[in-house]
Symmetry: C2
Subunit: 212 residues, 2 copies
């Protein structure tokens, strides 16, 4: 199982880390975290991560292509022709084209979600239609060979679901137990349906600032 | 809020990334990811991360000290005198002494859990007593100024709970919504109480191999 996970300066690293940690327990999976160069790249947490491969030395035809999200850096990346060409090329060759959070907007900008059901971070859901995607509800959405997760932490559910889809339920359950994924959030505030209006407005302001 | 998060070669990076991503949304939090050197450090996922500070230039007296877990590298670290001295020193000065997963064993080995209720990854729970800790059930356990999370993904619940404890519920709810933490695992297999005997045995074999 050859996996290519895009990374880029300013990404939200938990988008990538959820599925990366899950997939690292997938026997025979070879995972490459790729960017234009080998150098450490900054993330929105302040802690840099290091790509394992470059665009020019990663798998030619991955089984899974994955894109993580972020705020302004993700939006900026949609007009980076080198990145768009990379996603188009790998997306055409990959068995699975996938994302978490606003990584879906990168896939969309590369023309990879046209006619597919997809999801993204709740605060960015309304942008999916601009790329010809069919905005869909769900912690993750699988439509043919497209698999998209919701915001940030949805990457864990998404990562396990894709393992189940490709390698079977038992491996996914094993990884879930190894990661002790028996979530118990201290509050019911993880989606706009659960959160208060005030909390929603507060988060919208945070994202508006982060995107400007 | 001055936060010092330990990192070390071979750690399980999602242990660190859950609370790091949550706390990066905490206004006025200054987060340092620290190790002996500045160089990129390998993780058990294959993707390196980069510490932001060293033991010798990080906060003298952090508000929060945090230790993440892993498998064999974590066990080996318990006999690293420099690391133990670092944890003892910062632990004595910190307002909060915290961990996720087997990071609790590091705190324990540094003498920081003696007489405190604590938790760790389910597969390592039986080791807590050896350090004078009081093994306790829970996705996370808060006893006076000690806060310990369960395995890997418990770091997200732990991270939000600590924000609530220190800065109040509203900020924790805001961060939860920003991270879209409305978990929906594809299976009920995240704890030994939920998983099948076969799955539990499979995970125990994986950890036995990873620890040898």
């Amino acid at each position: 199982m050859k996996i290519v996970m895009l990374a880029y300066p300013g990404l939200t690293p938990l988008d990538l880390m959820g599925p990366l940690q899950a997939w690292s327990l997938w026997p025979d999976a070879e995972i490459q975290v790729v960017w234009k160069t080998d150098s450490p790249i900054p993330t929105d947490t302040g802690m840099p991560i290091v790509p394992t491969h470059r665009f020019d030395n990663c798998f030619e035809s991955p089984d899974i292509l994955f894109a993580p999200g972020g705020t302004k850096p993700t939006i900026d990346l949609m007009s980076d022709l080198e990145v768009m060409a990379f996603l188009k090329d790998k997306g055409a060759k990959a068995q699975w084209v996938t994302s978490v959070c606003t990584g879906a907007l990168l896939l969309g900008a590369a023309g990879l979600l046209e006619g597919y059901k997809a999801t993204t971070h709740w605060a960015a859901h309304s942008y999916l239609e601009a790329f010809g995607a069919i905005p869909s509800e769900g912690r993750y959405v699988i439509d043919r060979n497209r698999a998209t997760g919701g915001g940030v932490t949805a990457g864990i559910d998404f990562g396990l679901a894709l393992v189940a889809q490709i390698a079977g339920d038992e491996l996914a359950k094993t990884i879930q137990l190894a990661m002790e994924y028996s979530p118990n959030p201290p509050f019911n505030s993880g989606s706009p349906a659960e959160a208060s209006e005030e909390t929603i407005e507060r988060v919208k302001r945070i994202f508006a600032e982060a995107s400007s």
